[in-house]
Assembly symmetry: C2
Homo-oligomer: 370 residues x 2
């Protein structure tokens, strides 16, 4: 499906362990966008240098990758096989599915190869320890960087208790995201917009400011290339909710959305829609992000407009930024970023370029915080 799928490096798979781990990654990726709050995990069961089982985790409440791999091998002799898995097998029971380590031990698997230690404090090295105590050989760390990249949302969640935050901007060469009259359809090409849906797929929620919402009435979901909805992302609208008028309520999206009211005047929502008051978080974007994480939102794609982008940049609250540029000069309208206080070039917000790529007659820049 594109760049975000692929762990950065997979050259030189020189030994069979690496080849089988690579297969785990390929399996894991198949559930991209559908496992939240769980990580992407794939598993391969190998005996006498032959794959006898494969599996991946398909979503919360469903069996783990290891279970699926072992189940898919039923009928063959699993005993003395090797299990490959990109993430440490779980050992905790405070969840909907039983611990994988027990099943591994019972199956008579003699060796386990994993890329990453599970950053979840309920597991973290405990799964590996338990396996080793039962005499199972465990190898850890091959493709660990790629594994952390694959599950960067999950790793961030576990380590910082914040959603993984990505900024997505569609911009002209002169940095405009819309004309003075609000018009923004379409700056970028159809292929760029399709590509943007791949980024939406990876995220739990899509956030827009109220002005962008009212101007564009975006569907805020993930659609495939034939415009079929493949995922209803959670929807977050940020801004002064008193701007919402009765006619806007006919737009079905609002009733599915989470509203974050930032206005000074009180906002009383006339329906049962979940509403946060920004003030109650001390008007702190970081506090708000923590609250959203505690409410189960593991990742947010921030899609505009200028004010929302600028806040996330100024607070350094994003992980990734994707800017799609179209080769067009617009000459007026809102820039993708506004901060009148920057008085010297070295005080500007500088980032690291991860990748640039051409898309049709557009180009995409992937940035990360320095």
């Amino acid at each position: 499906m594109g760049r975000l799928d692929s762990p950065p490096l997979f050259f030189m798979c020189i030994d069979s362990d690496q080849q089988y781990l690579k297969q785990c990654f390929s399996l894991a990726i198949q559930a991209k966008g559908f496992t939240s709050p769980n990580p992407l995990v794939g598993a391969v069961l190998v005996k006498n240098n032959k794959i006898i089982g494969r599996g991946f985790h398909q979503g919360p409440g469903l069996p783990h990758a290891e279970v699926n791999a072992i189940n898919s091998a039923l009928g063959t002799e699993i005993r003395d096989s090797t299990l490959y898995c990109n993430l440490e097998p779980c050992c905790h029971s405070n969840k909907r599915t039983p611990p994988c380590v027990n099943l591994i031990i019972e199956s008579g698997i003699k060796r386990v190869v994993v890329s990453n230690i599970d950053p979840n404090p309920f597991v973290q090295e405990k799964g590996i320890k338990k396996l080793r105590e039962k005499g199972i050989e465990v190898d850890v760390g091959q493709f660990a960087i790629e594994g952390e990249h694959l599950n960067r949302i999950f790793f961030k969640n576990m380590r910082s208790h914040l959603p993984y935050i990505t900024i997505k901007i569609a911009s002209s060469l002169d940095g405009r995201i819309c004309l003075e009259n609000g018009s923004s359809k379409w700056i970028t090409s159809p292929l760029s917009r399709q590509y943007a849906h791949q980024i939406r797929l990876e995220h739990d929620a899509i956030m827009v400011g109220i002005n962008t919402f009212l101007a564009d009435m975006p569907a805020l979901n993930t659609r495939d290339n034939s415009n079929k909805v493949i995922k209803e992302n959670k929807k977050i609208i940020l801004g002064d909710m008193n701007k919402l008028k009765p006619q806007h309520w006919q737009h079905s999206n609002i009733s599915q959305a989470l509203l974050i009211h930032t206005g000074n005047e009180e906002y009383v929502c006339s329906s049962a829609i979940k509403t946060y008051h920004y003030k109650s978080f001390g008007s702190s974007l970081k506090n708000l992000m923590t609250a959203l994480y505690l409410d189960g939102i593991t990742s947010i794609l921030v899609e505009g407009g200028q004010k929302v982008f600028s806040s996330f940049v100024d607070e350094k609250l994003y992980d990734d930024a994707f800017i799609f540029y179209a080769p067009i000069f617009l000459g007026n309208g809102k820039s993708n970023y506004l901060n009148v206080d920057i008085s010297a070039i070295n005080l500007g917000h500088r980032m690291k370029i991860i990748e640039t790529r051409s898309i049709e007659n557009n180009f995409l820049v992937h940035l990360r915080q320095e």
Copy 2:
């Protein structure tokens, strides 16, 4: 030296003709930036599948590539050899050097292989015709596209009697070329700025607006990576020259510059500097460009600021645009383009992306008119 040097395609040099023509291009490029108003030309003399002579045109008034190639072969038997040359040999005498076709005929060369017909109306196919009349076999057209790319300045000059015009912009992600306070040093990285000197090298003249000139006092020359001046480009300053105060005259560049006064009030230059009055060209940028071409300026690199960029874009008077982006948000200051009249996205000035490339932690976009 980089992208601009290399004709776009040289894969699959399957026959020896192509291999020798490729050598002509490599030779021609050695004089890049120094042959104006002449084209870049390289020549190779081959006998019995062995190169017996090489040459390239080094600059106006100096021998042509064919002459240098033939002279370099002195002492060997030139008769019955084949001459390869990227451009048709000249046949006209209204210039400082004698026509090459005569020398070719006298030398007993039996075959000539060229990529491009010379677009100069004094030559155009006449050189080839004369050779053929003397029984010399002439093959034309291999690598013609690459040849036209190599000499795109010369081809444009001959066809439209206008300078080749390139826009060069250093920009933040939000499209700013300077902060509100005028500060612009440095948005882009040292490597980007070095690369920009490769673009300067290819151009006869560098043009800036008066405001940019006064703010930055740029040297407007071409320097190598160790900051040594390798070419003094012609310098053009555009704007209201009444902004020039006595202290600015101490800046040595002004005395070498061509001033184009655009102000309403009359400007009387206190020294012998060449000054054009924009009004006398009907305040038409195109008329001005024609006048500059007639004054011997074959190519112009337009380096800013906003007003100058915007004029060339609005008048569609540029051939290439190079935008160097740094991964920085500035949030205020001048955008690289301004046009308050654009009222719909499809009325924006859209271009074709030729190439994007990473330079250090910057990226460069090369655009051309649609």
